[in-house]
Amino acid sequence: MSEITLQIDGRKVEAKEGMTILEAAQSVGISIPTLCHHEKLEPYGACRICTVEIEARGRTNLVAACLYPVEQNLVVRTRSEKVDKTRKVLLELILAHAPDAAELQDLAQEYGADKARFEKESSFCILCGLCVRYCAEVKKKNAIGFVDRGVRREVIFIPEIASKECWNCKECFPLCPTEALQATFLLTKALMSPSPPCDPESEE
């Protein structure tokens, strides 16, 4: 692993090849906000709150810090007018789903995001995928997953697995930045609630 020197917010930062911008920044105490990131999980790059501005090969670009690999002489700005504006709009889009989620309030204040800018959406879930990925990558159960795509994408428990695995685990609950996960679980549980045992004898 060779050493790489890059610049983050004007500071010279030493990093190892293969590290991401987020890891390099964290190693020297520079904080970059994240929502879908978790140290036990593979980087995912869905919430884009960790968007930072980079200068590489003479061009300025916005990239996701949780995914972008460090490069020699890379110049990173974790705050800029463009970065802040992007994070503000992203937060407003997320807040349309979960306006009262505790984790979002400080970020909203920091970036001046208006939680009522967009009309409230029906689902609280912001599809960060922490529960889905934790269950797959750490617990290796795949009891919860994504269904559908585009604006209809949602998270559901897979009843056949969830009925066996979830009741005694629930380790994904504290990961959820909104209340959506518990609601989904309760709904699934209600749907799975034991129906009268099927007695083949009684059938005509």
Partner: protein, 642 residues
């Protein structure tokens, strides 16, 4: 089939095939591509076969079911070789006459010929029809001559000789240099130089490398890759194999959507045949180079056309894009170097190797070489697939090839590049079509979709349509794409319903910017193009919707009303009888009046009102005049004959 072990054996084989074919023997080719299939070519084929037998001509005439000829507007199409007599819109009932007159008697049947709408002149030969005459059909041209299920047809035209040349006379470096020198740019979307991608993949560390054909074409209205893969699959296989040799890959994938059954079938047959001749497999042409191809059938997702999503799908996972901060050419399928190009790009490669990079680079413009196949659809007379040199103007494509706008309507815009492209207005019709010019105009080449729109098209509605498509087709993983599209679609829907607000345009622009800058993949990064380009060129239409609650093209139902002009209504009862909502009051000799409460704005009355009366009007942005009083509705008619 004999296994072909050297270029010399290939040439022998080709000569053998040609020696069995008499170039002067009549051959009927029938377009059997998907478009013509839909307009009945299968029935036509059956009657041709039957009629040839019936008239005792089995030994005297050949019949070949080919791929798409391109002139889909006029399908099913028959071309009779060697003269190239072209008959259009053939039905089974025309077939006996074609066989008895044209094949037996060498007489041309006037009524089946193309009629020039301008001059009313009948045109006999395919190559003289303006739609074809103004094309440069290098890649697509063989489609009309080849039975896609016959490798011999492809070989007869010199097929696989480019591969033989590459493997026997050129080093892999030389092949790569040739493609680099040709400046071939990827025909699938972004227009990335193919040679550079190949080189990056070639130089990437790793023993196992993949080459991939992207046949997941999913833009509404675009079907050039489909037609090429259906009609000339060997050209794609040959190009892919040449690329694999240049890159140092021994495994290829063809990712084709399952919704393209004919393409799936034909490419499967082609692989089998190529394997039997030894054009695929081990030690191809005795060169020591091995290469195999697998077909991966897509499960129907627009986003899987994005290269990283496609590669994820090949791995057996849900086709979701992943970050490409490290290019897929370095880290693609199973994290191995993977070089992906679309169907048309691969099919162009054999031409470059056969005829040379210099020949290719003299076609087209400074930054975009060669030809491009466009799918010309929408409000244009000659819909179909056209192949033209880069640098042709939009005006030439739409008017010279496309024959202009039907019904004497005015051209309004052309949407290029599919849902990620933009709408280009009339002022820019003289723009030279190439990758860079289209991008400058706020659109893109994309894979070559071209949707022509006339004056009856509402540009807010167009933007709404494409965002609606993308809202379904986004994978939904990242926030800016999923939520940005969701909010933009809501705003556009509101505007089209007359609920637009003063600052909606600015909000759309702000959301567009974030979606473009922060999205994970190209689908999100280009999703706002239809919004931005329509705002850029048709801002007045947005403003009319928002400020005046008026739809200038009379499309947005919530903003229009239908009204019968009492001065013009002849009380003919036609609209009254046909109104599905029963919203029209009146009677014989009683002027008709639309009940605005009941009207569903389906437009039936507008369509059925005889043009000589022209009594039904569309109104937008102004109140509907009050109905005329009942006592004034009687029409005093002078009875006829007096």
């Amino acid at each position: 089939m004999p296994r072909i072990n050297s270029p010399a054996e290939l040439e022998e084989l080709r000569k053998g095939i040609l020696s069995k074919r008499d170039p002067n023997k009549p051959c009927i080719t029938l377009c059997s591509g998907t478009a013509c299939h839909a307009s009945g070519s299968e029935e036509v084929a059956a009657s041709i076969e039957e009629e040839i037998k019936k008239q005792g001509l089995s030994a005297k005439v050949d019949f070949r079911k080919t791929g798409c000829h391109g002139f889909c507007e006029k399908g099913p199409i028959i071309v009779i070789h060697p003269e190239k007599i072209c008959y259009l819109q053939i039905e089974p009932k025309d077939v006996p006459e074609i066989i008895s007159q044209t094949i037996k008697e060498k007489k041309v049947i006037e009524r089946l010929l193309y009629t020039d709408p301008g001059t009313n002149e009948k045109i006999i030969h395919e190559f003289e029809i303006p739609f074809y005459k103004n094309q440069e059909r290098l890649v697509f041209g063989s489609n009309g001559e080849i039975d896609p299920a016959s490798i011999d047809d492809y070989l007869a035209l010199g097929g696989y000789s480019a591969l033989a040349k590459a493997l026997s006379q050129m080093t892999s470096e030389q092949v790569l240099e040739e493609v680099k020198k040709s400046n071939l740019r990827g025909r699938g979307g972004g227009g990335f130089p193919a040679g550079r991608k190949w080189e990056e993949c070639r130089n990437a560390p790793g023993e196992i490398k993949y080459v991939i054909v992207n046949a997941d074409e999913g833009d509404p209205g675009a079907y050039m890759d489909r037609s090429l893969l259906e009609g000339n699959p060997h050209s794609v296989l040959e190009g892919l194999t040449i690329g694999a040799y240049a890159i140092g890959s021994h495994e290829g994938y063809i990712y084709v959507r399952q919704e393209y059954p004919l393409a799936v079938e034909n490419v499967g047959i082609a692989i089998q045949q190529a394997r039997e001749y030894g054009f695929l497999g081990e030690n191809i042409f005795g060169s020591g180079f091995d290469f195999t191809i697998k077909v991966h059938r897509g499960a129907g997702a627009f986003v899987s056309g994005e290269s990283s999503a496609l590669m994820t799908a090949i791995e057996g996972k849900v086709g979701e894009p992943r970050p490409k901060y490290i290019h897929t050419a370095v880290k693609g399928v199973r994290d191995r170097p993977s070089c992906l190009n679309n169907v048309e790009t691969w099919a162009t490669v054999p031409l470059i190797i056969s005829k040379g990079a210099d020949w290719f680079a003299q076609l087209g413009t400074e930054g975009s070489k060669g030809t491009k196949i466009f799918s010309l659809v929408g409000k244009v007379n000659n819909t179909g697939l056209v192949e033209v040199p880069m640098g042709i103007t939009l005006r030439d494509i739409i008017y010279k090839l496309g024959g202009g706008i039907p019904g004497g309507k005015r051209f309004k815009a052309v949407q290029t590049g599919g849902p990620s492209g933009g709408c280009i207005p009339e002022e820019q019709l003289d723009m030279k079509v190439d990758f860079d010019e289209l991008a400058k105009a706020g659109s893109m080449m994309g894979s070559g979709g071209m949707i022509v729109m006339d004056e009856d098209t509402c540009m807010v509605d167009v933007a709404r349509y494409f965002l609606d498509f993308l809202a379904d087709e986004s994978c939904g993983k990242c926030v800016p794409c999923r939520e940005g599209i969701r909010q933009m679609l809501k705003i556009l829907t509101n505007i089209s319903k007359g609920k637009g607000k003063e600052d909606d345009i600015e909000l759309l622009e702000e959301l567009s910017e974030v979606t473009r800058d922060a999205s994970l993949c190209a689908l999100g990064r280009t999703a706002a193009n239809p919004v931005l380009s329509t705002i850029r060129y048709f801002r007045d239409e947005y403003e009319a919707h928002i400020k005046e609650k008026r739809c200038p093209a009379y499309v947005c139902k919530a903003l229009i009303s239908y009204y019968i002009d009492p001065e013009k209504c002849q009380a003919c009862m036609i609209c009254l009888r046909q109104c599905p909502a029963g919203a029209i009051a009146g009677g014989k000799s009683q002027i008709h009046v639309i009940d605005q409460e009941k009207c569903t704005k389906c437009g039936t009355c507008f369509e059925v009102c005889p043009p000589r009366f022209g009594a039904v009007k569309k109104i937008s942005g102004e109140p509907v005049p009050p109905p005329i009083p009942e006592e004034a509705r009687m029409i005093a008619r002078e009875s006829k004959g007096k």
